[in-house]
């Protein structure tokens, strides 16, 4: 038995051992930290840029769609009301009626809808309002020549009447609400019932008036005759949420994770490749709760096909049985960094359940196919891929040599490539379109990034709900 006094003295002496390193050491440290940070930064920017591109793309496409839709609507007005500029023409009177009707339905002007237009005294006013709205969105300069009698516009310098200002503000808000809302007649709230559904297209003032006077039965034919086909919004914004379970599989067809073949490989990274005399077996992870939520933009490619892309947050979890927690240090064989001391670990056992949690940010790209042409209930098949970035995890990693579970985020592949399939039933509720159905997602990328080749693939099986507000019926 050795006297520990010698070791104590050595330890004490070595505590006193101090050296000043050369300046180049810090320079090297600084450079390498910066290099590593620069290496990680593009990935973060990639996600941010993708989000911005998606958001910006949606905004720009929406902006581009709106004026064209207005132009079509405006042209249709001009076609139907050739004498719009002539106060005495019957068409313009009709149009004025329609606009008076529409204004009377506008809560902003319900009190003085008619009188607010009297100072200008022009029946062309509604048409000019229409054009002013259009030129506002496209080119502010054009609004100056938008029509005789002064086109009200928010940025028009000749505005001096508060009523006109109020009108122009309403015009502007129309621009913001979308193509359908720019049409004066669209101010009339949609009439419920078989003939007056909100999706019956964009009725012209004539047809609108007719429908108001003659009742709902005549509305559809009138719309069909007088309306040129309104351009549909090419991009739609939607929201999606899913909830279910997330098992971890060894591979697509190999079922739950099994580590039985792993230990040999596990220890082969060691300088003296060897097989341990004893190794432990980890607990099988059980599926845990999983959910996702996000937003997407969808573009219709054909009568039945559409493509969508978006940004999702996805939470995965699985549950393992572990032993008690110990706050002591433990020497483990880290599969990536070699032997290392970890502070705090869970022993091998069955005394408690531990939930491994994974937080991902996903960029999904999906192709949707409408399976039927029903009127009430539509069925869709969806297939897609997504790239996901692991934001954080508290997952435990298993050490075969000690049988301990410990935290080591370096063993996870931070970027994942997934595939997804979904079947959904869709229906309208008002102007909102809902889709609901099962979804399956499989992580093609190995969750583990270890030299030992351990495999873990994330699965998700759950129910997905998709909501597309303001979607028009096809």
């Amino acid at each position: 038995m050795q006297d520990p006094e010698f070791e104590k003295q050595v330890r004490k002496k070595m505590e006193e051992l101090l050296f000043s390193p050369s300046e180049s050491v810090w320079a090297g440290v600084e450079t390498r930290i910066k290099r590593d940070r620069d290496r990680r930064r593009p990935l973060l920017w990639m996600f941010l840029a993708a989000g911005l591109v998606l958001g910006g793309g949606f905004y720009l496409l929406n902006q581009r769609t709106d004026p064209s839709a207005k132009q079509i609507t405006a042209k249709s007005d001009a076609n139907h009301v050739p004498g719009a500029a002539t106060p005495s023409s019957a068409g313009s009177v009709k149009q004025q009626d329609a606009h008076e009707q529409s204004l009377s339905n506008d809560p902003e002007k319900s009190g003085d809808g008619k009188t607010s237009f009297k100072p200008n005294g022009s029946v062309k006013k509604p048409a000019s309002r229409l054009f002013s709205g259009e030129t506002h969105a496209a080119s502010p300069a054009k609004s100056d020549s938008g029509g005789a009698g002064g086109t009200p516009g928010t940025r028009h310098p000749s505005l001096d009447s508060k009523k006109e200002q109020r009108t122009s503000i309403t015009d502007n808000s129309d621009v913001a609400t979308g193509p359908g809302a720019t049409h004066p007649a669209s101010r009339i709230p949609p009439k419920p019932g078989p003939g007056g559904t909100p999706d019956a297209g964009h009725p012209t003032p004539d047809s609108q008036k007719q429908s108001l006077k003659e009742g709902t039965a005549a509305t559809k034919p009138a719309v069909a005759k007088s309306n040129p086909p309104a351009k549909k919004k090419s991009w739609q914004l939607g929201f999606t949420a899913a909830a279910g379970a997330s098992p971890i599989y060894q591979s697509l067809f190999q079922g739950a994770t099994s580590y039985t073949a792993a230990p040999l490989a596990y220890y082969s990274f060691s300088p003296a490749a060897r097989t341990p005399s004893r190794y432990y077996t980890p607990a099988q992870p059980k599926p845990g709760f999983s959910f996702s939520a996000g937003a997407f933009v969808q573009k219709t490619l054909g009568k039945r096909i559409s493509v969508s892309g978006g940004l999702n947050y996805h939470y995965f979890s699985n549950i393992i049985q572990t032993g008690d927690y110990s706050g002591y240090n433990l020497l483990i064989a880290s599969p990536n960094t070699g032997f290392a001391t970890v502070r705090g670990y869970y022993s091998n056992g069955n005394t408690q359940s531990y939930t491994n949690q994974y937080h991902f940010l996903e960029l999904p790209l999906n192709l949707n196919y409408q399976l039927n042409q029903g009127k009430k209930l539509l069925f869709f098949a969806e297939a897609g891929v997504s790239i996901a970035q692991l934001l954080s995890t508290n997952a435990l990693h298993f050490d075969y040599g000690t049988g301990a579970y410990y935290h080591d985020n370096s063993v996870f592949n931070k970027t994942q490539f997934n595939g997804a399939l979904a079947l959904q039933a869709g229906f309208y509720s008002g102007k909102t379109f809902f889709k609901l159905g099962p979804q399956l997602q499989y992580g093609f990328t190995n969750l583990l990034s270890t030299a030992t080749g351990d495999k873990q693939q994330l699965f998700f099986l759950g129910l997905q709900l998709t909501v597309i507000p303001g979607r028009t019926k096809r």
């Binding site: 010698f6 300088p271 020497l331």
Partner: protein, 186 residues
């Protein structure tokens, strides 16, 4: 001393805080690296690697235990990994030169300075040097050292005994020489 704020600043990427943390521990850590290597240049390489790991994994430090202890563990692991990468130390573990067999006897009185003692430890064959450092200075058990270096527990135990004996004999010799020298002085 609470390093909480310093760590938080470092995590924010504050270069001044990183430099401060480095300055705070660098002398001590270089001493550790020095004991595991054969030259100051190698020790500085290990120190650099170690501090890069410290800063890149600082988010894993949960303010449990001393920051210095956490950094020290990283330095020791880095030094061991460095030894493994430069796997020349493997052959030295089987070093059986009888010339190096230890002199048995009582433990010597420690009259050497820290640098002199570290110099002697560095003169040990690399395998001995690693085992001696891990057991005598870091306090690892032979089971743990066996895992770290990929050797049997028994090998670690016997190699340590040899390293210890060798070191004691050198210390004794140095002490005797120093005494002789002092007696010889007028």
């Amino acid at each position: 001393m609470d390093h909480r704020q310093l760590v938080k600043d470092c995590l924010k990427g504050d270069a001044a805080a990183q430099r401060e943390l480095y300055s705070m521990f660098t002398e001590n850590m270089l001493g550790i690296c020095y004991r595991y290597t054969k030259s100051m240049a190698d020790a500085e390489d290990v120190l650099q690697d170690g501090f890069v790991k410290v800063f890149l994994n600082l988010h894993q430090y949960k303010f449990q235990g001393e920051l210095g202890g956490w950094i020290r563990r990283i330095m020791v692991n880095t030094a061991i990994n460095w030894l493994k990468k430069n796997s020349w130390y493997q052959s030295d573990l089987l070093f059986t030169d009888t010339a190096l067999h230890p002199v048995t006897g009582d433990d010597p009185e420690m009259t050497l300075s820290a640098k002199e003692l570290a110099g002697l430890i560095r003169q040990l064959p690399p395998g001995y040097q690693a085992i001696f450092n891990l057991h005598a200075v870091e306090g690892y058990s032979h089971v743990e050292i066996g895992k770290i270096l990929g050797i049997n527990e028994g090998t670690s135990r016997s190699q340590y005994a040899r390293a210890r004996g060798l070191l004691i004999s050198w210390i004794k010799k140095l002490s005797t020489d120093a005494k002789t020298e002092s007696y010889a002085r007028p």
